[in-house]
Subunit: 221 residues, 2 copies
Amino acid sequence: MIRTIELKETVTASNDRDAAELRRELTARGLFLVNLTSAPGSGKTTLISRTVSDLIGRVRIGVMEADIASDVDAKKIAALGAASIQLHTDGMCHMDAGMTRAGLAGMPTGDLDVVFLENVGNLICPAEFDTGAHVNVMILSVPEGDDKPLKYPLMFQKSDALVVTKTDAAPYFDFDFAAVTRRARALNPGIAVFPVSAKTGEGMRAWEDWLLAERKRGRHA
Amino acid sequence: MIRTIELKETVTASNDRDAAELRRELTARGLFLVNLTSAPGSGKTTLISRTVSDLIGRVRIGVMEADIASDVDAKKIAALGAASIQLHTDGMCHMDAGMTRAGLAGMPTGDLDVVFLENVGNLICPAEFDTGAHVNVMILSVPEGDDKPLKYPLMFQKSDALVVTKTDAAPYFDFDFAAVTRRARALNPGIAVFPVSAKTGEGMRAWEDWLLAERKRGRHA
């Protein structure tokens, strides 16, 4: 049985302040919050599942799955034995800091080191709302194409890392890794780029090492 | 040189009325408007390009490409020799009827039979706004997965047809065509479903025949 929380939009005018306050509180409690954004079908849940499995015994990861409907993602995570919760956004296309706080209140945060927030599948609205996360990670799958930085620039600007998923499908699509990296860095010179296949495991180690290093850097270790 | 129009949001309270009025006007002028929605990277532009090429000499098609940034899609369409325009939504995640009307004002509609509106790449917001189109077509690509009706139900409810693209990639992904059709029809029993590959041409004929039949049915022929 997946627990589901129905969220209502909070006052967005104060979102930046609420997000900064939430981040401070989480830092003080030693909890590292990771916001994951992407288009629908980019493989966020598969990436999260593999990352949770790979890091079992090293960090305790919980997962909040935000969606406008359904609990299919939270069920997949729960099947791994990890703490997970489903958040319904009442039709809204993004999470904000107040909604993130409401979600965390439903998680066993005292027993966790890291919480992944799987944001609503959308490359537009979530870029505009700080959730209070310590790092923002954007996921782009090979089948979506290498032109996405040109079309959704704000999301690339706001992300600390870009994980390019489904690299095992690269032989069947025209996807230029050098081009996507160049386009992403033109918008955001400091963005870390990780090509991965959660199916074969290729590239997962570099992404996971970055995640653990970011957690340490923020003194959450 | 691609012409670009910068759009501002119109008053949404009256959107349903504006959309109905726009639809009546277009019907009177014999212009058939098709609204295409999908997630980013589903292959909308490739599908449109192939459809435009296949139907040259049978109907005169123009294309409006809506995006929050860039004009890469309008350039691809213009390269086919078809009338095209780029619409920028000022960061907004959807098109409404007023924005659609503003876009049409920049098109040579007197020389066209059909206009495709490529809506912003997003499965959430565009479902909530009637653009004034005669038919709504949703595109879902095989790599996105067959669970999307469960996660974005409103979009499936609002669509007259579902075009499942990138079927040539099906051998490399776990995608259950029967399951996606069953899930879509549970939400919307009348939805037409067309599996296609714009790359190989597989299934294109059935989709194009449906489009031409819908145009005739609305007495736009």
